[in-house]
């Protein structure tokens, strides 16, 4: 069977949308202590007033702890720092899991492990803002189809982290491709698909052990054909694009009322007045988080005109779309994206599988970037995530052929710092800058070459993958004892 259904299924089940670059730098806390990113109205109870009902924003906290790491100095490398810098014969020093220094004349501390990266390239760890690893894992058996809660068009109450299967062999394959952080989303069959989760790409028994500490929550929303197809085929709403818009708007109206009722309750209660808390609603909790600016909207949209409609809706209800995902026609509204501080997460060169994907161009990413909007690559695919460097290489070379002047080091933001910004974790990762997490890839050659592979991948300074050492290559429970065990 010709297996284009592999990707169609992923698209149907799992197209997604996430956050925005303009807010990206505002990382909630930056601490690793696993406390809730608690802010404002929906804070956990820190007032000491135990009579006031609060909403726990972090009931499934990260238990991720970096593996132990020493001091590592990588030298003699060509470095792309992820924020437009390029250093020849450069060094990166990692101490206690964090980038300590980057430059050309860094002395090796006494206890340092020194890695000579002559002829090789060093970059930040790759970040994929659009993955369904874990929620649509391999093998794609019916029992594992956990990415799309196609039971009603608004399922903002579901959380992708509750579907993630940590034993998906795809995580380790992505690690071999240099991916250190990934954002796992529910599918795109619903108007509101549920919350996404940002993960460290580390082997773990539990998803809590992978959760990126203090990363903001996200909300997956979806435009266009998928929701109207799913529900239209059932004879229910939405069956059309206009039904999609009506569905979003009705939900935002309810969310606004819900938020107002909680805010009023907290104000009254804090003022010592008698107040009855509203009834908790998981769906509206998520939408309230968006209206309060705490949850980043990641929205699957293909067509230019649909994105323009969503932008108007964003203003109507006073929230921010952080990222349009797929944005196959992003190049047609690059000015709108820029002016509204919305990022675009796109493929290099895929389309044709449905009508709203009929007009992709290979220069999409480069044109959006050149217009001054925040652009990035994404995979939406368990194979594509392994080669995001090649996808960026294609987008870069195609943009250059169209006459755009974009450097290799500038384009490396498309798979590192820009997705970090759009996930609200840029203070922590996405570039090689002092103080940031030691998420680093050593590539065998220029990562824009088809022949380049990740030699070594560090997460928080710990060597998590080494191409030359099978003991430093994770094997999932599922693959243990199977024919593919240990293969890349």
């Amino acid at each position: 069977m010709i297996s284009d259904m592999t990707r169609w299924a992923a698209i149907l089940a799992a197209t997604v949308a996430l956050a925005s670059c303009d807010r990206g730098g505002e990382t909630p806390s930056g601490s690793d202590d696993g406390d809730a990113a608690a802010t404002g109205s929906t804070n956990t109870d820190e007032s000491g007033d135990s009579d006031i009902v609060r909403i726990n924003l972090d009931p499934y906290p990260s238990t991720y702890a970096p593996l132990p790491s020493g001091t590592t100095l990588i030298t003699n490398a060509t470095i792309f720092d992820g924020v437009g810098g390029r250093i020849e014969n450069g060094s990166v020093l990692i101490v206690d899991g964090r980038i300590s220094a980057i430059g050309t004349d860094i002395e090796a501390p006494e206890d340092a492990t020194v890695i000579d990266a002559s002829g090789r390239f060093v970059t930040p760890g790759v970040i994929d803002i659009h993955s369904h690893l874990g929620v649509y894992p391999s093998p794609s058996v019916s029992a594992h189809s956990d990415g799309n809660e196609l039971t009603q068009p608004n399922t903002a109450e579901v959380w992708a982290e509750h579907s993630v299967w940590p034993q998906d062999p795809g995580f380790a394959r992505a690690l071999a491709g240099g991916v250190t952080t990934l954002h796992v989303l529910p599918g795109s069959g619903n108007l509101f698909g549920g919350r996404g989760v940002t993960l460290r790409n580390v082997p773990s028994r539990t998803v809590q052990g992978m959760k990126f500490p203090d990363a903001p929550y996200t909300l997956k929303m979806a435009c266009g054909e998928n929701p109207s197809r799913v529900y239209g085929n059932r004879g229910s709403s939405p069956a059309t694009d206009m039904g999609n818009m009506a569905g979003y708007r009705a939900s935002w109206i309810r969310a606004r009322d819900y938020r107002d009722s909680w805010h009023e309750y907290w104000e009254d209660a804090e003022a010592g007045e008698e107040a009855t808390p509203p009834t908790r609603d998981l769906e509206l909790d998520t939408l309230m988080g968006v209206l309060d600016g705490e949850i980043l909207v990641q929205m699957h949209c293909y067509r230019d005109d649909q994105m323009a409609q969503v932008i108007d809706m964003m203003h109507e209800f006073d929230y921010q779309v952080t990222t349009f995902h797929h944005a196959v026609e992003g190049y047609q509204v690059a000015d709108l994206l820029r002016d509204n501080d919305i990022c675009a997460a796109v493929w290099a060169d895929w389309g044709g599988f449905k009508m709203e994907a009929y007009d992709p161009i290979r220069e999409n990413l480069a044109l959006i970037h050149a217009a001054g909007a925040c652009a990035m690559i994404h995979s939406d695919d368990g194979l594509g995530i392994q080669r995001l460097n090649q996808e960026v290489a294609k987008a870069l070379s195609d943009g250059r052929r169209l006459g755009l002047d974009i450097s290799e080091e500038e384009a490396f933001a498309w798979l590192t710092s820009n997705p970090a910004r759009a996930l609200g974790i840029f203070d922590e990762t996405g570039s090689l800058e002092a103080g940031k997490r030691g998420d680093v890839v050593i590539w065998s050659a220029n990562p824009y070459s088809t022949y380049a592979v990740a030699d070594q991948v560090f997460i928080d300074g710990a060597l998590m993958y080494d191409r030359s050492d099978p003991d430093r290559q994770p094997v999932s429970d599922f693959e243990l004892g199977q024919p593919g065990e240990g293969d890349d």
Binding site: I2, S3, Q332, G352, D359, I361, D398, Q482, P483, G484
Partner: protein, 423 residues
């Protein structure tokens, strides 16, 4: 199979005066796919659609048009062995997708050449990326047999299918088992019964009688497969299924088998090599998408190569129509995982042509070969390289597609000319 030799390939000008048209592609690194190997700073001379000379010191006839490769690479066109080009315009729109039929009583007799559209928009978008020849496959729908495939070029001309009835495609993987009723045993029994029908054709069908499992037309279409005149392309991944397929081929000699999928083919590589059964495999497929493909690995192409299996590459995990153009990238990844460059490039040019029995006409740059020639601005397996010229049957083709037109329309978003008037 039916071969439709184009007039150009026969050295006859299709239109216009009968003057020889000569083109010299010069000043490039020529990949010949022959014993000539790689020729630095070489020239390929084309006359009337056919390669007539290849070398480092080819005399350029007076009056020949010269195309300067400017130090780039000159190669045979890419031959994609597993596509649905010309069948799908929009995959999820049934009205624009002829790859499979879910409600038909027919199977083997279904012939993609009845549906192939040379003006499908992805013909051009694949051509400008260097893809010049391809095999068109039907998809399996409700039947184990998908139907018959064809061979074509990406010229977009009316005669761009140059052969039809080239192979029959059947699914004996887990999905084939599902269409056969729910188990592998049922699928193989169905295949046996179908071959039995074809061998008993037409006698069994006289007087309005029915076959075991095939209709009269389907049985007729399978006859050439049972006689080994037309290959059977079988979609299988699991090592045990591939062994079963090898046994089937032995029991049904002279049937000619081609394995498509082949996720675990490397685990039975020596058996495949011994049986001389080629494998069409996607080099980047390395996840266990199902229990058929637990052994999927990036090392598969290198392991198959080492065992002497004939291997051609596909874009199975991307798709077969929009992104068949990614074949060089997939081949480059095989190189990154241990396949010598020459072998990987051959696996997307000459080897696919040989698998379909046309390796004496396509896939190499040597005198007598059809002049499908691509000039690249760098190593074709590098993702940052791209073609600058594409010749099919010795004719230079337009380097333009709907996608390049859209890019031109929107390249200057600040321009105030209404977009609808930019064309």
């Amino acid at each position: 199979m039916q071969r439709l030799l184009s007039l150009l390939a026969l050295g006859l000008a299709a239109t216009g005066p009968a003057l020889a048209q000569e083109i010299a592609v010069t000043n490039g690194r020529v990949i010949t796919n022959t014993d000539q190997g790689v020729i630095e700073n070489g020239t390929v001379l084309i006359r009337d659609g056919v390669v007539v000379a290849v070398g480092g010191d080819v005399a350029i006839p007076e009056g020949a048009r010269t195309v300067d490769a400017e130090g780039g690479w000159i190669t045979p066109g890419i031959f994609a062995p597993f596509t649905q080009l010309g069948l799908i315009e929009v995959a999820l729109e049934d009205s624009a997708n002829d790859a499979s039929a879910s409600e038909t009583g027919f199977s083997v007799a279904i012939d993609v050449s009845d549906a192939f559209n040379p003006r499908n928009s992805y013909i051009a978008s694949n051509r400008i990326e260097g893809l010049t020849r391809f095999a068109v496959f039907p998809s399996t729908g409700e039947e184990l047999f998908a139907g018959q495939g064809a061979l074509g070029n990406t010229s977009g001309r009316n005669d761009s299918l140059f052969e039809f009835g080239s192979f029959v495609f059947a699914d004996l993987s887990q999905s084939g088992a599902a269409t056969a009723g729910g188990s592998r045993e049922a699928a193989w029994l169905f295949l046996e019964a179908a071959f039995d029908d074809a061998r008993a054709y037409p006698g069994r069908y006289s007087g309005g009688s029915e076959g075991n499992v095939l209709s009269r037309l389907d049985a007729a279409a399978l006859v050439d497969v049972t006689r080994g005149r037309v290959p059977l392309v079988m979609s299988v991944d699991r090592a045990s299924d591939i062994l079963r397929a090898i046994r089937f081929a032995e029991e049904h000699a002279p049937v000619r088998l081609i394995i498509q999928g082949g996720a675990e083919a490397w685990m039975v590589a020596s058996e495949l090599a011994e049986a001389d059964i080629p494998v069409l495999i996607d080099p980047v497929r390395n996840l266990p998408f199902s229990f058929d493909s637990l052994g999927s690995t990036l090392e598969a192409p290198a392991r198959l190569d080492a065992a002497g299996v004939t291997v051609a590459y596909t874009t199975e995990t991307a798709d077969g129509y929009f992104n068949a153009r990614l074949l060089p990238q997939h081949a480059g990844n095989a190189v990154a995982h241990g396949v010598p460059w020459d072998d990987a490039f051959r696996a997307i040019t000459l080897t696919p042509a040989e698998v379909y029995g046309v390796g004496d006409q396509y896939g190499a740059l040597a005198p007598g070969y059809v002049a499908d020639v691509v000039v690249w601005d760098g190593d074709p397996l590098e993702v940052m390289s791209a073609p600058t010229h594409v010749f099919i049957d010795g004719q230079e083709t337009e380097m333009e597609s709907r996608q390049t037109r859209l890019a031109e329309r929107y390249r200057d978003i600040e321009d105030t000319t209404p977009f609808g008037y930019r064309h």
